[in-house]
Symmetry: C2
Subunit: 631 residues, 2 copies
């Protein structure tokens, strides 16, 4: 039941109070707050921020919950009136400079934001949604786009190893400033420093184009009459490793992880339903230390109606140190410049042991700094540097911060004497179950999805039209410091189309924790219990699976076709590569398209092969190698 | 000899070429480039940036050097047309977001920027000067100010322990946004998070006010007719440790180290002559990895004509990893919110030893990240964690970066086996001599100056009207990681007025490296050879000197008056406090104002006292303490 005002009321707080009184008797019914009653009309270019923030404020004041309602149409949001708050967003670039948030949802309970099909257009460096310290928040039926996406597209007119000439879209204002290409839109002025080639037909990253070009360039306008044609020349005696194809699209990207579309922190039961994100200067959705996040029918896709080819500048969705369940269903994730999903924790690095109960630790990756990785009450597991094998657990009683990246942690029990600098701590109180189901991922740079969580993981009935590895399950305490091991993963009923046609990975599915494997005979495996069942693969590269330090790995009842749609990368020489695994099963799979003489090769060390089971008659041959890949 | 154009030429590059031809014969004469010839007129509010940048570009193109000349008057600079470049500025807040530079001096040789008394007015978040990879650059005769300083002033109308009410200056636009006080000027929107109390009479930080208030507040407009009166109430059951005095000034500060006025990197022989800086959102001058920097007649002072009370938001001048000589003469440094000068290196922290030749190290302090602390060819000295005593040296052959804060360093010689995690590396190829002479420092928060460099240091004939310690010579590898030990310091002929009337320090002169002192009998001292001679002190707190781990410390022929102008802080119980020093001399000093019964007390451990010499008859008494202060 909702309450509607029969006549428009200009001052929203008055309206809100009235609605509240009317609704005093109906405890379970939410107040409905309409932005229209706060002077906000669709299809005006004026800044909707003040009115929407006033309406949101009224909705937040309503005890018992409220629904904030939009009329269909287009709403514009500018930074000037957005809320300035210092927030550290994990896996983004941070400083103590405030970010600007349009929807500032803090401390909310039972809030619904219903766009009713509205389209929100952002101008410049703003973050549309902050959802923090809130419970039961739902955002639905709306589209987020940017007036000028902060990631430009140039059509390749000419190219050779010394550079390329592109025509920049007419709706993307830029300058060439002393050899630098500078996007200059809506108060943002960013020099481009990274390039990536996408196919001209909208299918995503150009096959064979490998990763972004990150060379030092000199840009110059060519003098063409449209003023939009720019030649990028290599400098420093560099040569392009690949010459972009005429008619393809070069993305002109500033490698700055700026504003995401949604930033969620310390919130419980947040859902996005029917939300589309056409662009974000950072990621689409980043959630940290949240519990139960659901994304249903989410579309992170380019704005096709404007002929755009790319969506978010970085990952579509990213979850750090979350718990409960991350559920992503019936979504479409297309042409981002990074992964569709990544769920992981953060390894803390031990700097030193102060006494029996205290450790000084740091957050090693700079983009994780400021993230609240641990609080009193959390249970941490110590993992040995190198192997990352577990060495015991304890509960935190106190955290004393020493700046954004360093802290002293006090435990409830004496620390085993053998804690060494560089050992890692995983927060096992904050690990999520994951369901990623009936989604389509296509065309994006990098992987389709990454998962490293010890919760239950179900990846099923998706279509992964991947340019790199489709699924990566890693974990490391050397570079990104993304924890942790998986314990229960089911990958079932998915379709994999031409993974590895661009780069990023060694096999269609990479299970490649960056760990030292214990020397022969020593027990201990990083990941365990991964089942890859009843999937269909259409491959251009014959590398199906890489597995390192996995105990319990089933690859069964899959159908694999080698179709040669694209040239293979040949980064992995054999179909299956096993490094220090145990209890691998390869059964009842169907392979087609392989030259008869080749067969399906499983290459592995003695430990992996001696405990492997496989159905004879699949054409599988095994080949034993030494301690290959051992760090 | 200079070349002048007899008629204005609109397109500067043409003019520059002409000037160049005219001047072809006179190898030692510099071309003169007038901004007026590039359409830039004084006293217009229009953005001078494009014209000035074009003129600067012409000056930079002139082989053999050039002088960029302004007419007297006021010039305005806005961010829109400033050059966007990603630069990591040490001791400031950084991210990969570009900064915006107005004067973009890169790769220059023999450039003079002569303001001829011009006043440069900045709007918003811009950095007026970048000077990088340049040699022989001089900037002179100009004033830098901000249209709206990004640090506000509120006059205290009422105050008690639960909060205070201030009236904000009429020229400082702000908003109160859900309890946060937000400065909102020239495209900047920063929430204030730090407070500091200054005296109402312009004399600087209010005596007894200790450090900034950093409490969680709730701001609300009082409803006063001017709309500029705001009540700040404490929250979280906090009580103000000091109630601000009515009529004093509360500075409303965002603790963000944003744009400095001058950023210099990798440049040689840079001088600023007759430059005034009224404000900067960050520091006044920050130089890193520069050689020979001279500041003559510099004034970092508030804009008195506008009735302003504070100058820069952080240090007036700061030098990191410089060499050659830092010379600061005849300057005035008044009412900054941080130190007048700090000269130091950066300790790198060892993370691990890879092999006989390689170490993985990090830049531990987040505000130093991105700073180029070491390059191939530099000589590093290993210092043991804790004591920071030297353990050997080696030359770097290679630096492989692993992100902004971590790198692998390869040395030319095998590393001693006993390198441990957390040991520190000092770059002894980049240590500067320092001359700080005939300057006046007054009223600023924190210390007057800090020095930690093993070059020759001369601090003479200055007036330190200090609110905390006047001179601090420290060094640590625990918090700020500022290296390193001093080896030759002369502090002579200075006048010290009422240091320690606010806080920040324990004695008028603090020689307080944050090091563990070796246990009794083990040799090793951090600093050495510090002479404090022929100075005059007028004190409100009787703590004259703190010295820790100094070998060779002379305090002679000084005149010290205890005048009781302000209440003492009594942080140090005795006049002289010595911790593990050797060869201390206290001779021919004159003390006055002390109660006859008290005498002058030198408190120290046995090692310090047993090697001390002092002239009898100064009223000095010694008092031995144990291993006090030993970490």
């Amino acid at each position: 039941m909702s309450t509607k005002s029969s006549m428009p009321v200009k001052f929203g707080r008055v309206f809100s109070a009235v609605a509240f009184l009317l609704c005093g008797a109906c405890a379970t019914a939410a107040v409905e707050v309409r932005v229209a009653d706060f002077g906000v009309s669709p299809d005006a270019r004026a800044d909707a921020t003040p009115g929407v923030r006033a309406a949101l404020s009224a909705a937040l004041d309503a005890k018992g919950g409220a629904t904030l309602v939009f009329e269909p149409g287009e709403y514009h949001f500018y930074p000037e009136n957005a809320r300035a708050l210092v927030r550290y967003v994990s896996n983004h670039d941070n400083s103590r400079a405030p970010r600007r948030f349009v929807f500032d949802v803090s401390g909310a309970t039972d809030l619904v934001v219903d766009g009713r099909g509205a389209r929100f257009v952002m101008h410049g460096d703003v973050t549309p949604f902050l959802i923090e310290r809130s419970e039961r928040v739902s955002v639905k039926n709306l589209t987020i786009d940017w007036n000028v996406p902060l990631l430009y597209e140039g059509e390749v007119l000419a190219a050779d190893a010394s550079g390329f000439t592109v025509r920049v879209r007419a709706d993307e204002p830029f300058e060439v400033d002393r050899g630098a290409f500078v996007i200059s839109a809506d108060g943002v002025r960013w020099p481009m420093d990274t390039f990536c080639e996408f196919a001209g037909d909208g299918s995503g990253q150009a096959a064979g184009s490998a990763d972004a070009y990150g060379f030092r360039y000199h840009a110059e306008k060519t003098g063409a009459a449209d003023g939009r044609t720019v030649r990028f020349s290599v400098t420093d005696n560099y040569a392009l490793p690949r010459v972009p194809r005429e008619g393809n699209i070069i993305f002109l990207r500033c490698n700055l992880r700026a504003a995401p579309a949604f930033f969620m922190e310390r919130s419980i039961k947040v859902s996005l339903d029917g939300v589309a994100i056409h662009h974000a200067p950072g990621m689409g959705v980043i959630a940290q230390r949240c519990e139960d996040v659901t994304l249903r029918g989410m579309r992170v896709i380019p704005n096709d109606s404007l002929g755009r080819q790319v969506s978010t500048n970085f990952d579509a969705t990213h979850f750090v140190g979350c718990r409960g369940r991350v559920l992503i269903e019936d979504g479409e994730f297309r042409n981002m410049l990074d992964d569709a999903m990544n769920v992981h924790g953060v390894y803390l690095q031990v700097l030193r042991r102060l006494d029996d109960y205290r450790l000084v630790v740091r957050m090693p990756h700079f983009q994780a700094q400021g993230f609240i990785a641990v609080e009193a009450g959390d249970r941490l597991r110590l993992a040995r540097f190198g192997t990352l094998l577990p060495e015991g657990e304890a509960v935190v009683t106190k955290v004393a911060r020493r700046g954004p990246d360093e802290m002293t942690i006090t435990f409830d029990a004496p620390i085993a004497a053998e804690v060494n600098p560089l050992d890692a701590l995983e927060n096992i109180s904050w690990t999520a179950d994951v369901v990623f189901r009936r989604n389509t991922v296509s065309g994006n740079r990098a992987r389709s999805i990454l998962v490293s969580t010890s919760g239950r993981v179900i990846i099923e009935d998706n279509h992964f039209n991947a340019t790199g590895s489709a699924i990566r399950i890693s974990g490391d305490a050397r570079s990104w410091f993304e924890s942790g091991p998986v314990a229960d993963v089911l990958i079932q009923g998915n379709t994999f189309t031409n993974p590895l046609r661009c780069g990023y990975g060694r096999a269609a599915i990479d299970l490649d924790p960056e760990v030292d494997v214990p020397s022969g005979g020593t027990p201990g495996y990083y990941h365990r219990n991964i089942r890859i069942i009843k999937n269909k693969f259409r491959l251009c590269d014959r590398a199906v699976l890489l597995a390192r330090s996995v105990d319990g790995l089933e690859f069964s009842e899959n159908t694999i076709e080698l179709a040669n749609d694209f040239a293979p990368l040949n980064r992995q020489k054999t179909e299956f590569e096993l490094v220090r695994c145990r209890n691998v099963q390869l059964e009842r799979n169907t392979f087609s398209g392989w030259p008869a003489k080749d067969g399906i090769v499983v290459s592995g060390d003695a430990d992996s092969l001696s405990t492997m089971r496989f159905t004879p008659g699949q054409g599988i041959k095994t080949r034993e190698h030494g301690a290959k890949g051992q760090r």
